[in-house]
């Protein structure tokens, strides 16, 4: 009798899924998630796709719609090659930071996997997207899909009007600078609504049509005392151009004199998309950790309540442990630190510190140890941190010991590596700082800024690379990228490498010598 009642409480049995089951499972998981973990999520839109469509989504940077570009074709071929070779499985899901939150489910997944994926993406990622401050402040979940739709249409329109080659040239150059097309310190303006953009574009087109050189009747201004004016104006012109500027795409879009209005708009599109992805890159460990923690916790709760059968739970756990496997550094499978594993371990560690702390934990985390309110601590961490600050704040000595983390100092001029710190009393803080540093996206990308340009003179664009820790740029790709900048700028460009500590000029490269 009891067993029968238990069986009827199961959310699903067997491995086949259908929409009814999916919906039932989602409702249950959402109820538990909201009730037990206090999650706060966007409404969910689940889309069932085939493996080929998943490959499609992969190659267009994971977005449901994207403009056309050859590089996406190349990535598609590459992903397809890996997939067919069996070298890489496809993700079970893909989730998009939008409102409503779009979750892609693969049709090949079994019902147990779909449940896992629902908890992982539709609850975990979704909560993170909605609550993390980076996403709240820097991306616009409501506007992204309509913006992408606009971008796709606009670029197709440009291709029709100006030819594939012309559009491709601009996109190639803009893609090369995508990394340098984000604002890191001040927030980007909110995406304007579709109507506003439409109006703006219409006005531009009208101006283009109605422009007539005949109307330019003002006499050219007379220049007196040219040389003196110039010297003084260096400071002034830097100020007027807002230099130095680290968002190269933004600078080119606003100040290049050779670009047509449509080319500026194309650059803007690339820039907006780069900006949209910037928070995701800063919160990889947290985002995946949050989703993994949520699915692991929720699945276990469902199992304890008898809503999932043992067989399904076994399958879920198997997949779960595949996802969070972390081989040691000398294992042939090692390919860096697994963000799923690190994130999950840190969050479970927070749970442990809150509920059953050791003396060491009380020492290191006096404000959370033993308070028992791990839910609030986690919610707070998910909302207010990014990877770098999260690790800096919450990586505990216990976890460093568990992972046996060590720091290897690698100087390019040294014949050997040096083990700088290991998991001991002296090393904890250093390892924590080094690991946090390695997740600081902003400090990892080369720091390149526009420092000077004389718009009224030779328009020679000067860029500066602040070299940190002696890490120079790779010569071949640097030259190719400089060529791209030159094609957007229209005049010669130079890049000086300045040592961050001494201020000495390490190298100088100009498109004049290319």
């Amino acid at each position: 009798m009891d067993r029968q009642a238990g069986a009827s409480r199961l959310l699903f049995s067997g491995s086949d899924w259908d929409f009814k089951k999916l919906s039932r499972v989602y409702d249950e998981i959402e109820a538990i998630g909201v009730e037990e973990l206090h999650l706060d999520i966007y409404p969910v839109q689940m889309e069932i796709i085939s493996s080929e469509q998943m490959l499609d989504a992969y190659s267009s940077v994971g977005m449901p719609l994207m403009y056309r570009h050859w590089s996406f074709g190349k990535h598609f071929l590459y992903n397809e090659f890996l997939y067919r070779k069996g070298g890489r499985g496809l993700a079970y899901e893909l989730v998009i930071n939008s409102n409503p939150c779009i979750v892609y489910l693969m049709e090949e997944n079994t019902m147990a996997l779909q449940a896992l994926v629902t908890a992982h993406a539709a609850l975990g990622h979704n909560h993170f997207f909605k609550n993390n401050h980076l996403f709240r402040q820097w991306t616009d979940a409501d506007g992204i899909l309509s913006y992408l739709n606009f971008a796709k249409g606009y670029i197709a329109h440009c291709e029709e009007r100006h030819g594939l080659a012309a559009v491709e040239a601009v996109l190639d150059s803009a893609h090369a600078l995508m990394e340098h097309g984000v604002f890191r310190y001040h927030r980007p303006p909110k995406l304007s609504s579709e109507q506003q953009r439409e109006g703006l574009r219409e006005r531009l087109e009208y101006e283009e049509r109605s422009y007539s050189d005949l109307w330019r009747t003002l006499p050219p201004s007379q220049r007196v005392g040219k040389a003196e004016v110039r010297d003084e104006s260096v400071v002034g012109r830097k100020k007027s151009l807002n230099l130095p500027e680290e968002n190269l795409l933004y600078f080119l879009e606003k100040n290049s004199v050779v670009l047509e209005p449509w080319q500026r708009e194309v650059i803007r599109i690339v820039r907006v998309i780069a900006q949209y992805f910037y928070p995701q890159r800063q919160t990889q460990v947290m985002n995946e950790g949050c989703a993994t923690f949520v699915h692991y916790t929720l699945m276990n709760m469902l199992f304890e309540r008898g809503r999932i059968s043992e067989g399904a739970m076994l399958e879920i756990l198997r997949n779960h442990s595949n996802v969070i496997s972390q081989p040691a550094f000398d294992d042939p499978r090692f390919s860096g630190i697994n963000p799923y594993a690190l994130g999950l371990d840190m969050m479970q560690d927070i749970q442990r510190i809150s509920t059953e702390p050791t003396a060491e934990d009380r020492d290191w985390f006096p404000d959370i140890a033993g308070r028992g309110d791990w839910r609030d601590t986690l919610l707070e961490a998910w909302a207010n941190h990014r990877d770098e600050s999260f690790i800096r704040q919450y990586l505990s000595p216990a976890l460093i010991r568990k992972w046996r983390l060590f720091v290897l100092a690698d100087g390019a001029d040294q014949p050997h590596y040096e083990v700088a710190s290991i998991h001991n009393e002296r090393g904890y803080k250093k390892i924590r700082a080094a690991l946090a540093q390695s997740y600081d996206v902003g400090s990892k990308r080369p720091d390149i800024q526009v420092v000077d340009v004389d718009l009224l003179g030779d328009r020679y664009l000067r860029l500066q690379h602040q070299v940190k820790d002696g890490i120079m740029l790779d010569g071949k790709s640097r030259d190719a990228t400089l060529r791209h900048i030159r094609s957007l700028w229209g005049y010669d460009v130079s890049l000086a490498a300045i040592d961050g500590e001494t201020g000495a000029t390490l190298s100088q490269r100009s498109t004049r010598d290319l």
Partner: protein, 436 residues
Amino acid sequence: MPIFIDRRLNPKDKSLGNRQRFLRRAREELKRSIRDQISTGRIADADREHAVPMPEKGTSEPAFNDARDSGRRNHILPGNRTFNSGDLIPKPADGGGGPSSPGKTDSEDDFRFVLSREEVLDLFFEDLELPDLVKLNLKQILTFKPKRAGFAASGSPTNINVGRTMRNSHGRRIALRRPKQTELDAIAQQLAMLESQPPNAGTLKRIAALREDFEQLERRRRRIAFVDPVDIRFNRFDPRPLPNASAVMFCLMDVSGSMGEREKDLAKRFFVLLHLFLTRRYERTELVFIRHTHEAQEVDEHTFFYHTQSGGTVVSTALEEMHRVIEQRYPPTEWNIYAAQASDGDNFSADSERCIELLDGKLMRLCQYFAYVEIIDERESHIFGATENGTSLWRAYSAIEQKWPNFQTRRIAAPADIYPVFRQLFARQPAMRQSA
């Protein structure tokens, strides 16, 4: 309750546009790999999918990247077992990133991807300068002719089989006892008759009963349609390939030392094009390779293209060998015989007479088509381009060309010269189709 959207039925190939853009961008390089593959592979393999390596030029995506061999960095790694701080570990000899490099070894450059048949042919055709109509013809796999084959429950409205549909409808109407119009008419008539009589209690009751009957029958008629969707049958058509006979293609080539790499490459493209044409025209195409120096022999494809043989040049031996093979294996009543000969034009002058004799007397009667290409140096092309003088073989073949309309000769210096050899062959195609 979330919103569900089933996207599985959405059009596939969402990234086709991206693929096309990518192929266009890498066109030159892909063309070269396809050409290499076709010139090293078998003739019959030209007409299928090819895996090609990732093109490197024009498809790199540069960005400002850190140079791996400069500066100081920290690697944070898990799984320490034996190290203590201060330990020195020698770097591996390859100088790569050391412990952090595994997993990054498979670069994007060393993978291959598959080009579809159509894409391959596009690339192959590119500098052959084929007219578009011919390209289309060659890319088409087979011509099908729809042939009646029974009935189907689904189809397009134009294919409705009225007779069969009405038969089904009739059977269904009988089975479900759909009231006939005559029954209704009879009741209506009765009603009219009763209503015309002076009313009394008996007739009124009868009228009411009849009315009810009438309505019930009406309702039943409405419910059971005259023609229901389940009755409808469509004529079914089976696409049947057009009956094609078999063809055999003889490739004849001079393999004496004077035929170099370039000559053989041009000859191969010439053979591939003819073969493509034949595989479209005929259901079954066989290839026979005959090489010759001063003596001829039938060989396999690999030997044909890659083994050189020393010796003089006696062209007639190849023609004799071809004749022998035809007599032995390919009776002209069952086989359409095509021949393609490539040579640099060298021949013993006395032998050219013998060639005329063989072709004129025997072979041209058996062959559908004989194409001869003489591969000349690019520098000579403007000298020989139009004039009639040339090697003795050329002069001899020119005489045959005038006599036999299905004999074509041509001097080739570049890939673009190949197609005109076949011009007549392709031009004749529509006419041949119709007669087939």
